[in-house]
Amino acid sequence: MAAAARTMFEKIWQRHVVVDRPDGYTLLYIDRHLMHDGSAAGFARLRERKMKLRRPDRGFATPDHYVRSDSRSIADIADPNHRKLVEQIRTNTAESGVTLFDLGDERQGIAHVVGPEQGVTQPGLTLVCGDSHTSTHGALGALAFGIGSSEVAHVMATQCLWQRKPKAMRVSVDGTLGAGITAKDVILAIIAKIGTAGAVGHVLEYAGSAIRDLSIEGRLTVCNMSIEAGAKAGMVAPDDKTIAYLEGRPFAPKGKEWDKAVAYWRGVPSDEGAAFDRDVSLDAAAITPMVTWGTSPEDALPITGRIPEPSTAPDAAKKDSMERALDYMGLTPGTPLEEVPVDRVFIGSCTNSRIEDLRAAAKVAEGRKAVIPSWVVAGSGLVKKQAEAEGLDKIFRAAGFEWREPGCSMCVGMNGDTGKPGQRIASTSNRNFIGRQGPGVRTHLVSPAMAVAAAVSGHFTDVRKLLA
């Protein structure tokens, strides 16, 4: 009898079961554990229990949340609590033997940029990190998800996690994306369609020709925001592009081990006919450049649209939440999105800070001038170096953009990179939550190209007009 067709998620899950309890809980083995400067709490919990890391060889760390974007010196971090967190990642990894990409090392950067870049992230693996955007790594065909600090300590101590198996959901995007449409627009369109709780309890598999046509970096952008659809994780089937991307990366296997790994990776994609608990599809050709207008990532609209009217809401609760969002965002219903003025621009974050993002942004910035304060924060030292080798930094600087040092920066503002109350920011990050970029700050999520279009226009602008 032929084995039942299995989804990619199912295959990776089954491969990592240590114990299946009769009560439905599974002890799942974790292959890779990424750590950052916020992981100090996990190390502290481990120390309280007088325990050591079970598998320091499976841990990789880099400071990202609390590092400054204008200095590489720990001493320059003004807040003593924050400085301590960045110092502790050094001492904690040195004591435990975890690999560190430290401040000052060109490999340092945002954990979710560094993992794939170093070849730490690979198909068919389980990967966790104490950060919700761990879903990013699923772009290479890994099962990757964010956990809290207690579970971080649990993985440090046991290399395992107790999990109830999530359901599987497939989002298919078929057809060809139009000119100027990016992975960011794809994921914003998906979240706008299924909602910010649309995939709660599910692992998402992104499928279809438009997803296959995306580069690995584009897939990283899509998977990054799976959590904004409520998903446990997001993933894309590994293919020739994935394998070509990994070949030669520092932590990718070599020689015979490479061949053995590739043989396993080839078997990871979902079998033909595998059943998903839910299926959703989108037409790639219908996706336009997207902009969020509200305070939830699902509040996304095509740039050609207008600020929505709460009176059109399907029910009173939705009307109330729309009114609340519009009040916070300082927007008037009916206003065309292209007429909304922008005060500041942020290009960066684990969503959109990779070399292709910077190339797409530089293409729009070249020969133009930013009319509002605009920042570019590369995702890692290596991305920054590559961009400089290509002269992108010169293009950005000539266009009036600030070219800053790698880290999470203004996506979450934990390092002090925040806006002022009332400021409206076009941001390539992942969350437009109230206060996310500072108290009272109004965040609009866009692609890197759309962020530059706003920077050079002073208001949201359909980037396709500038590319024409």
Partner: protein, 200 residues
């Protein structure tokens, strides 16, 4: 970990759907020691940017003083994985959360801190919030052993919880200690993986 058995306490209603963990504790408070985070709970919902208390926010209303239960809307505590969203509530006395649905990571983090997230159907959660608004300071009774919630209206609802999670909460069991009991299984898995996935 402190066991969770029963709770009979004042409950606060939180009406916003998709209330994210940035609203429960804003990111700028995360780098501080835990004992100094207590005041950060719902900070920007409780205060204006000028730090004036917003009288209309539930935790600023005297009638809700001493609350230990939150009744929320769908997708409660979505967003960032920050476990501080659970610990800051526990440190403010809030130990049980009732909502139609939760952010997955927050849901898991609750069990790590002796807190109980309860899923109830959206209409019942809405009914409970309405009752709490109508009678500020009204109490809700939770009994984990029988998996029941008794609302201010006296109506009882049964809720589902995994027996694994229930057992850990009732007995204050620590997951790491539990897992260490499976050492042989973990070692066997690792031995097998060294063969099958030797490139790792």
């Amino acid at each position: 970990m402190e066991p969770f058995t029963t709770l009979d306490a004042v409950a606060i209603p939180i009406d916003q759907p998709n209330l994210d963990t940035d609203q429960i504790i804003p990111a700028r408070f995360l780098g501080r020691p835990r004992d100094t985070q207590v005041e950060a709970l719902f900070h920007d919902l409780r205060y204006t940017p000028e730090r004036v208390p917003r009288p209309a926010f539930v935790t600023n209303m005297p009638a809700f003083a001493g609350a230990r239960i939150v009744v929320a809307e769908r997708n409660f505590a979505c967003g960032s994985s920050r476990e501080n969203a659970v610990t800051v509530m526990v440190d403010n006395g809030l130990k049980a959360f009732i909502a139609p649905s939760f952010g997955d990571i927050f849901f898991n983090n609750c069990f790590q801190n002796g807190a109980l997230p309860i899923r109830l159907p959206a209409p019942r959660a809405a009914e409970l919030r309405a009752a709490l608004h109508a009678h500020p300071g009204a109490r809700i009774k939770i009994d984990l052993a029988s998996q029941t919630v008794v609302g201010p209206d006296g109506k009882t609802d049964r809720f589902e919880i995994d027996s694994f999670r229930k057992d850990c909460l009732l007995n204050g069991k620590d997951e790491v200690s539990l897992t260490l009991g499976y050492e042989k299984d973990i070692a066997a898995f690792e031995a097998k993986q060294r063969q099958e996935m030797s490139w790792l």
